[in-house]
Amino acid sequence: MNVATNNLAGLNHSSDEMSYDVYRIREDFPALRQGIRGNPLVYLDNAATSQKPQSVIDRILQYYTSENSNVHRGVHFLSELATREFERARSKVQKFINAAEDREIVFVKGTTEAINLVAWTYARRNLKAGDEILISAMEHHSNIVPWQMICSEMGAQLRVAPISDRGEMILEDFARLLSGRTRLVAVTHVSNALGTLNPVKEIVRMSHECGIPVLVDGAQAVPHGKVDVRDLNCDYYAFSGHKVYGPTGIGVLYGKAQLLESMPPYQGGGDMISSVTFEETTYNKIPYKFEAGTPHIAGVIGLGAAIDYLTNTGIDQVAAHEGDLLDYATRALSVIPKLRLIGTAQQKAAVLSFVLEGVHPHDVGTILDQEGIAVRTGHHCAQPVMDRFGIPATVRASLGMYNTREEIDALVTALYKVSEVFQ
């Protein structure tokens, strides 16, 4: 799939299956070798977090074993080495999402912090009472709550573009909500609860026509296909390392250089300044202006290794494999009696959210867990999405690059067991 141009996984997946050896790829992920309650682990909770390839684990080990030092500080050998590796990882991220320059890549804790950063710098500086921020009805709480907080502080309004019964954006309604008062649009690229792939390029185009910048929450998109921020032409793009086979605690905020330069700093501290006196402080240039304090160096370098792993495997091959698997799983689940898929968008990433009539998702989750199958159950930090579909929770199977058709079969067999217990 190519997320950037909407040639989506699942629609074009006959080709590369032969060259993509999922069983060999599985060998790279030590966590997948373990048994859970006497069964092989079937890990279908990739939208929550992905497992890590050995190369990422080894890279972090190597950093702490023989490269550990603080960055952008010392003149000594190790500090230079750590700084070089740290900045090399920034370049890897830049190429990975096709940003124009390294300095457009800001390292943060994760997607949540990236969104908060934009809320508390850009939005805080630009919002006035009566202004609006526009989001969609399928956002994760982390792309709702920061905007509610800043709107409440500035006397601004949060507007929500509705979604259809299939879980798709309704672009006509979105267009109607773009007003002279809208100061920012913030939408998810792929919905974590529904799997919907949004037409982000079109959303950006429509918003820019009205002169409104767009932030894209890419946490669920980056693992599933090529993201090209320049093709999307979005102003900000946020994602997390741990969902893309990298470490937890590290994430990325991409921002167009001109915008980042116009923004006030996020947090004060070391590394984000160029000079400090008690009278006056001059802030560092971007991206360092937004990276106060010692960063998560091991996380950054580990993320670089994860990007190498994905790039070497081939992100388009991963997308094709997942598209095939999504198709297979959708067909397999659709014939299970009383099962209803929640989120049936035409363009989807490999996320299957569903409910079983008469059985609460938690009970489904517990029974699947007994079979060694890890799924997420609950509202997926997207309560408004649950409300939209009139359900308290769903079961969510989210697929990754290492999942197989056999694992989908195991899920289906276990779901029949659920029906047996609850017949």
């Binding site: 609460h360 998702p361 938690h362 009970d363 517990t366 007994q370 609950g378 067991k417 217990v421 609850f422």
Partner: protein, 149 residues
């Protein structure tokens, strides 16, 4: 599957599918709302007291099989009990679902509630089994709402 059968005993499945005393009361002596924000489970407990005796108890809510069955069986076992007896049952039930198997004391008063013994093998489900009970306690202590995580 054996642990699973211990968790989803017939009595529990029966009460989950056909909950008893699942109704609103128009003028309860006390009531409270219980939420499990992590799961989205919600339960509301209504009590009609006659002095210190629970004359009527009922509930409304949405939740998994364990939380629904727990609320249903709780209302069945508490009807006609004194508040003192209810408090004792709360403690005994809590002990039943949270203590390790080898440390379990015998409480004959628990009666049917013993079917929840299997929950202790599923630590993440303990809060499902205890939500109704914590809500009951909140109602009796005149707290409008309680939240378990």
């Amino acid at each position: 599957m054996s642990d699973l059968r211990d968790l989803y005993q017939e009595v529990i499945l029966d009460h989950a599918k056909h909950p008893r005393n699942c109704r609103r009361q128009q003028a309860p002596s006390c009531l409270a709302q219980g939420n499990n924000p992590l799961c989205g489970d919600k339960v509301r407990i209504y009590l009609e007291l006659d002095g210190s005796v629970i004359k009527d108890i009922s509930f409304e809510g949405t939740g998994c099989a364990i939380s629904t069955a727990s609320a249903s069986l709780m209302t069945e076992s508490l009807k006609g009990k004194t508040l003192e007896e209810a408090n004792r049952l709360f403690e005994e039930f809590h002990h039943l679902v949270t203590s390790p198997a080898e440390a379990i004391a015998q409480f004959p008063e628990l009666g049917k509630l013993e079917v929840f013994a299997g929950v202790r093998e599923f630590p993440v489900r303990v809060k499902c089994a205890t939500l109704a009970w914590h809500t009951l306690k909140a109602a009796l202590e005149n707290k409008p709402a309680v939240s378990t995580e």
